[in-house]
């Protein structure tokens, strides 16, 4: 249970559609411990109301609903209402007739009943990971922007240039003068920065105009 960090799920809201009352009740009672909010519903109509009213991060839906079909519901969401929400389907049917439709709909995963809670949580995690990562990236970007606001902006620009122009072998093929031309900085600033970096082993000179970037030498950021 601890392979993935399920604490990450704590910030998301889930819409759970399952027509079977018992299963709905018990699954909800398990899931509500992990997520910010779970909306358990038995019918498509209730689900639609929730989607309109609340911000939903992921939908878990049974394929076979009373008088309806989870796949059709997702199809309607995607094509008619143009709402893109990651979705997970649960089904009691082992046959593959719905699988093709599910793939067409870009359903994120497909869970066979009886539902294994770990599997469900893992799947939720995998589905939500891009969202978590997007948040992470946005946050890092903001950190860099804040750093460049308070320190020498020229140095930040050189670092950004270096990172951007690394080739596949993590080497930088530029001379000082070329670098100066491109970034428009003074030579001492460049030399100073390169010296600092090579002292820490982050950027070592292999030959003329060739510098190797060593990722492992970067200082570890504090755990956020």
């Amino acid at each position: 249970m601890n392979k993935r960090n399920f604490d990450l799920l704590g910030s998301f809201s889930i819409l759970y559609i399952e027509d079977e009352a018992d299963l709905l009740k018990h699954t909800t009672s398990v899931l509500e411990d992990f997520v910010k909010k779970i909306y358990p519903v038995q019918t498509v109509e209730e689900a639609l109301e929730i989607i309109k009213a609340e911000k939903i991060d992921v939908i878990i839906s049974d394929i076979h609903l009373r008088n309806s079909n989870g796949l059709d519901f997702l199809k309607m969401l995607k094509h008619d209402l143009e709402i893109e929400i990651p979705s997970i389907l649960t089904t009691a049917f082992t046959d593959t007739e719905y699988l093709l439709d599910a793939i067409k709909l870009h359903v994120n995963d497909y869970i066979i009943k009886p539902v294994n809670i770990k599997e469900l949580l893992n799947t939720l995690h995998d589905v939500l990971l891009p969202k978590i990562q997007a948040k992470e990236i946005e946050r890092s970007y903001n950190i860099i922007k804040m750093i460049s606001a308070v320190t020498d902006s020229k140095q930040v620009e050189i670092i950004r240039f270096i990172i951007k122009n690394l080739d596949n072998d993590n080497t930088l093929n530029y001379s000082y003068s070329e670098l100066m031309e491109r970034v428009d900085v003074s030579k001492p600033t460049v030399i100073k920065l390169f010296k600092q970096l090579s002292d820490q082993g982050i950027l070592t000179k292999i030959q003329n105009k060739k510098y190797l970037f060593n990722e492992t030498k970067l200082p570890l950021p504090e755990n956020t």
């Binding site: 018992d22 299963l23 398990v30 411990d33 009886p114």
Partner: protein
């Protein structure tokens, strides 16, 4: 005899139609031959008759008359003259007349002797004579010819003497005339003798001819008899061979028939055996078929159990997992455990009930009971609900009052399940239908209950309607249908419930604005089945 055998052998090898041809040819040619011969004989006889008449009878008359003339007219007149009993003039007249008549008669005689008889009879006679190798008799014998010659001379002699006498008489020289008359009497006498002998010769000749004639008649009669006999012989020979041919054919056919009959009898016997065997086989097959059908419905039931179990099973699994997850988070408290255990108990009770339902269905007690139609139909619907939901088929029951029926409850459920299953199969294949509906309508009359199972699957094709209750008849794919369901249903309804089952195509609205093409199966069962009729286990 060898020739006969040879002919017989030949005939034996000739085809039957050719044999009849030969027979006909023989009969025809024989008839013609006989006819021809008869004609010839008749004409030959006619010739003989005519020649007898013309050449012998007629001349005899003439000669007799001439003779009479000479004796009566001339002789008597001359005698009268001699004794002067007649006048000269009269005498001359009479003699002259007699002379003329004699000349005439003589001429006639000669003509009738000499005139040949021509025409068909002559030829027939010639031909027959030639055929019989009978030499022809000369027409006139030498003797006759001599006599005729002598008569001729005598007559001219007498004539000239008579003329002289007449001359004398006319000149009234009676003396000389008398003298001549005496010698003339002698002459006429001798002439008469000649004439008599001529007549005799003619008579003799006619007697001769009569003899030849007899011979001729005899021979031709013999020949005819011989010919008829010969033809009869040939005809009977050919007839005999034909008869033996028929006899052989008949024997052959009889033998053939008896052989074939024997073969048929054998075949019949073996067929009877085979039929027995086949009946046995088909009974075995029927048993296997019923087993198959049972297994098939068992399979369907199992699917239903599986589904009806899957839901509570899923919930139970979730309850168990929730203990783990709550414990891991430190949220496992007494209240939670109590509520979950209560839920789990309910769920497992439900599962147990389901199992009991199916168990009683498949191990039915065979006793008849009063049961409610509504319950039975509802149970059938429940039992097939899973599959119907899966195919998105609506099923509804319409029934005014609950009806009570006495009989085998489970068998009726079985039949209804079959009908619902069939409707489901046809509806699931109809992709274009906007709404898939099965409706069960129960009605009653005074003595009977009618249960209609209607689906809007488009109805049954007319050409297969009479066959739907036949065993092994199926429209479904081999892997899906065994073709036994409806057959078994019919058996159960008719034998165990004393009811009837039939189907037809109808148009029904089924609560929608337009009409659907529907098929309707109707089960008709009496409210009270006859008690003495015990259902036997198949």
């Amino acid at each position: 005899m060898t020739l006969l055998q040879f002919i017989n052998n030949k005939l034996d090898h000739i085809k039957f139609s050719n044999k009849t041809k030969i027979l006909i040819v023989i009969i025809l040619s024989g008839m013609m031959l006989i006819g021809f011969l008869m004609f010839i004989s008749i004409f030959a006889l006619k010739y003989d008759y005519e020649s007898l008449f013309q050449k012998h009878t007629l001349p005899q008359v003439e000669l007799e008359e001439i003779k009479d003339m000479y004796r009566v007219n001339i002789g008597e007149t001359l005698y009268d003259i001699k004794f002067d009993q007649i006048s000269n003039g009269d005498a001359i007249e009479v003699i002259f007349l007699a002379q003329q008549i004699i000349t005439k008669q003589w001429e006639n005689y000669k003509i009738s002797i000499d005139t040949p008889i021509n025409g068909l009879p002559y030829f027939a006679s010639r031909w027959l004579n030639f055929f019989l190798m009978d030499h022809n008799l000369p027409e006139k014998t030498i003797f006759q010819r001599g006599i005729v010659e002598k008569i001729n001379i005598k007559m001219s002699n007498i004539d000239s003497q008579l003329n002289t006498i007449l001359e004398h008489l006319r000149k009234s020289r009676t003396e000389e005339a008398l003298y001549l008359i005496d010698s003339l009497s002698l002459e006429t006498n001798s002439l008469n003798i000649y004439l008599s002998s001529l007549i005799n010769s003619h008579l003799k000749q006619s007697i001769n001819e009569k003899e030849t004639n007899d011979r001729l008649f005899q021979t031709s009669t013999y020949m005819l008899i011989f010919l008829i006999g010969l033809i009869f012989f040939f005809i009977s020979m050919v007839l005999f061979t034909i008869f033996t041919h028929f006899k052989n054919l008949h024997n052959y056919l009889e033998e053939n028939i008896s052989r074939k009959t024997k073969e048929l009898r054998l075949l019949n016997a073996s067929l009877e055996n085979r039929i027995k065997k086949e009946v046995e086989n088909s009974r075995k097959k029927d048993n296997i078929m019923f087993q198959q059908a049972r297994l098939a419905s068992l399979g369907e039931m199992l699917q239903n159990i599986a589904h009806q179990w899957r839901q509570p099973l899923g919930a139970l699994m979730m309850i168990i997992q929730s203990f783990e997850s709550k414990f891991a988070l430190g949220k496992l408290d007494r209240d939670f455990i109590n509520s979950r255990v209560a839920d789990a108990h309910l769920l497992s009770q439900n599962m147990s009930d389901t199992l009991e339902d199916f168990r009683t269905f498949f191990n039915p007690n065979k006793s008849k009971k009063n049961f409610s139609i509504k319950n039975v139909i509802q149970k059938s619907i429940d039992l097939s609900k899973y599959q119907l939901e899966r195919e998105e088929i609506e099923i509804s029951l319409s029934l005014k009052d609950d009806l009570e029926v006495f009989g085998f409850k489970n068998e009726l459920i079985h039949v209804l399940l079959n009908l619902i299953g069939n409707s489901k199969d046809i509806l699931s294949s109809q992709k274009s239908l906007d709404k898939k509906i099965i409706r069960i309508i129960a009605k009653e009359s005074i003595e009977r209950v009618y249960i209609n199972v209607i689906d809007n699957g488009g109805g049954i094709k007319n050409d297969i309607i009479p066959k739907v209750f036949d065993p092994y008849f199926t429209t479904k794919h081999q892997s899906v249908g065994t073709g036994v369901g409806l057959y078994m249903s019919k058996q159960m309804v008719e034998k165990h419930m004393q009811g009837h089952i039939w189907c037809k195509n109808i148009k029904h609205k089924l609560d929608s604005p337009s009409f659907y093409a529907c098929s309707m199966f109707t089960i008709e069962i009496p409210k009270q089945t006859i008690q003495t009729e015990e259902a036997s286990d198949e």
